[in-house]
């Protein structure tokens, strides 16, 4: 029973991973990737890594929502239903993929894996907790703070207004032709709904 489930989830993970590169839309690609991760999470649960498996389901879902949807929101085709190619640099990518696959297969076939079945799942989770907040704390906390700073910066950069007012404050529209005059500032988009309207003096 567990063997059948293992095969089903593994095959589903590989197929949805493959389909990521066959579909023609950002949204489809992102959520097929998520489907692949969910199947890997299910395999982890089957391997008795109960906490890691379910945490993977949760983390990957939130991550895909943030990554995929933010990515698509900043694109020229926010609907994501119009066809677009989902591959670039195919030759480099194929070469990199082959090298990575060879590495993984080499590890899978040649490495001498320890035969240590998980007897106490709680002990495994506890060990993980002590690892994350003990020996490896510096690494994980550095990564965490860096990611947090990145998120804050991304939000600040994309916010239309901040505590010092309109994001367009003081900015000048680029000229319409090279070397030309700058356009008057009322050409700029003003999406400040709070509305401090400048008097443009009848320009």
């Amino acid at each position: 029973m567990i063997d059948i489930a293992f095969v089903v989830f593994s095959v589903a993970a590989v197929i949805s991973g493959y389909l990521v590169f066959r579909v023609d839309s950002m949204i489809r690609a992102s959520f097929l990737l998520l489907a692949s991760f969910l199947n890997v999470g299910a395999v982890l649960v089957l391997l008795l890594a109960e906490y890691l498996g379910t945490a993977l389901l949760f983390m990957m879902t939130v991550e895909m929502v943030v990554m995929a949807l933010f990515m698509v929101m900043f694109m020229m085709n926010p609907a994501g239903l119009n066809p677009m190619s989902m591959v670039h640099q195919p030759r480099v990518a194929a070469a990199a993929g082959l090298v990575a696959a060879a590495g993984i297969w080499a590890v899978a076939l040649l490495a001498d894996f320890p035969d240590a079945p998980v007897v106490d799942a709680d002990q495994a989770v506890r060990d993980l907790g002590f690892e994350l907040l003990g020996e490896s704390m510096l690494v994980f906390e550095s990564a965490g703070v860096t990611l947090l700073a990145t998120m804050v910066c991304a939000v600040v950069l994309s916010a239309a207004r901040g505590r010092f007012g309109d994001g367009y404050e003081g900015s000048v529209a680029p000229p319409l032709e090279p070397g030309g005059d700058h356009r008057p500032d009322d050409d700029l988009v003003d999406d400040d709904a709070g509305g401090h309207h400048h008097d443009h003096g009848g320009r």
């Binding site: 949204i27 959520f31 109960e50 379910t54 389901l57 879902t61 939130v62 929502v65 949807l69 239903l81």
Partner: protein
Amino acid sequence: MMGGDRVDVPAGIDPLDPAVAVLVLAAVLGLGSVATVVLRRLVAAPSAGRGGTTVGTAAAPLREARWLADQQVITTERPDRATWILAPAAYLGLAVAALAVVPLSAGVAVADVRTGIVVFGAAEALAIVVIFLHGWSPNSPFALVSAYRFVAVALSYELLSMFVLIAAAIPAGSLSIGAIVDSQAGLWNVVRQPLGLPLWLVVSWGVTFSGPLAVVDSADLAGGGGVEDSGLQRLAWAGARAAMLVVFAAAGAAVFLGGWQGPVLPGGAWMAVKTAAVLVVLVAGDVYLARMSAQRFVRLAWAVLLPLAFLDLLIGGVGSL
């Protein structure tokens, strides 16, 4: 319980037999959805005829359901058909998966797994994906706008949900919802961690896009995510949403109101009463609270509610020292 000491995790409850589990889940969600309709009618009665609130006859929802089931299903130009049709099924499936980890009575749970709140949180996060895809797939502008707007709201409430659940798990010393219920034997979490339940209500309105967070299928976008739905699709979506509301009420009752614990009555009855109580509050909010604009909610969530969730976590942590 603190430090490196070995935490004694309760052995947990044996999962139900699959055949029984299916019946239990179907019964809880079916009865719960009917209860939602009845409660909604009772709650909305005082304001009937005012402010656009309409209260039909008791049979009106059934008649509407039958009418919807009869209607032709119309489609749009180049939709993503698979996700569109599967979204209501996936949403209902997630409600079922989330309900499975909630204990329904003393020693009765479909699968009170040790990672209960993680599974519940995963179902909740996947619901965001499903609601987004439901709005995205018809290839229709209003539905798409509602889908993106929902994601902004969802990312804001999702963090609250995790923090209040973790705060409830700290005194229990376990991620199992059964253990969280056990930990409330002396004092319910609603007293011990007073910020938890109000924040949970916000999350529940968010996941079921109702009340102040009705940003998906709402009238201000001409029907939003559901604007292109017709016939059975619309019926399935509404049914799945009622089921999700029941699941979040049940989880709120288990995590904050002591679940099946209480004198005299059997555990299952207490759980039903408490679930109904949370359901009344959720439905009343849906009927009486105005929809917030997504932008205002996002600001409120990050500037006010998230710090409150941190405070809740602090209260939970300090309280179990």
